[in-house]
Amino acid sequence: MIPAAFAYRRAASVDEAIELLADEDAKLLAGGHSLIPALKLRIARPSVLVDVGRLDDLRYVRDDGDRIAIGALTRHAQLTSDPVLERDCAVVARAAALVGDPQVRHRGTIGGSVAHADPASDLPTVLLVLDADFVARGPDGERTIAASAFFTGPFETALAPQEVLTEIRVPKVERSVYLKHARRAQDWATVGVAAAVVGGSTQVALASMGPTPLRARAVEEALANGAGAGDASDRVGEGTEPPSDVSGSGEYRAHLAQVYARRALERL
């Protein structure tokens, strides 16, 4: 499978990437592990690819006091073994280790995964449960977008066409877990459940249970009112729209979500 023809421009800085994105048919290329398959299937047919993959100064995990700052081009393989994440936000490292396979993790980036916004993807779900902040830079400067406002639809985000995601900030958490059910090794989540204690309250988010990663607000509310893991997880289906596809029916996903939510809460 061969992509349709495109022009290729390698950006030497974020500012240059923003300028190059002025072409309305341009697409940003990071690790390429969501975009290149889409190019090969010709689902995506940009006229220009703006490659930010060489911006090595956007590859870092940094302890920023009460939060951890992650450069958008940090590869999954780096996240899985990062000592700062391991100590203060292990769920990001654990979830990164479940993305694809080693070859994919050597190339794929956290920013690329987030900007691609696949509702069945692991890291967006984990970042949603953590109330992560997304830092984006565009022609009008920098802004921060809350995770709750970031994922707007399947493969759609709040990023404007000329904005570049540069950094992701997550809180330090002591208790966090991500459980994923996949049909095959290296697959996307049939259902994923992330849970974390953030600022004293237990938060839960779901992968592949709707058009975007979703917060399981009913479960959170039940927990806040003193329910145990079993009773709280019974409410996991509220507000979800689980899809039916080759990985499973909506009904099957709803069942999985309940079982995985209970297990996640028990392990938390």
Binding site: M1, G53, A77, P102, H106, Q186
Partner: protein, 154 residues
Amino acid sequence: MTNVALTVNGERRETDVEPRQLLVYFLRDELGLKGTNVGCDTSSCGACTVLLDGESVKSCTVLAVQADGTEVTTIEGLATDGELHPVQQAFHEQHGLQCGFCTPGFVMATVSLLKENPSPTESEIRHALEGNLCRCTGYHNIVRAVEAAARAGA
């Protein structure tokens, strides 16, 4: 066309490529290195695995222009002076293959694994090879080959 200059198996190569050209086709069709196979062409099967700056990647999901300035190692680059690389030798001795189509990818994935984790457990080996599919062997001899290569200090 875009100019790319990279090192492939220790040899410097410089040429103009179409930006849409995938690394695997660059290696096979431009450089004639046909040891890297195209299997599924959807970044699932791992038959096209090569090393990019020492790390395993699926060359059907990397553009040749992305490899500009890098060092690429393919299966042809492993043996030195007619001596098989220890990972190749282990696959040979443990019979870690049947038809052989997936083998270059498994060998390259194993070289990358053992660089990151020189003494993997059996479970770690099986997880580390999740990106490579073999439809003949049932994987047991492949896992034995990786264990043997690790013991040999590959």
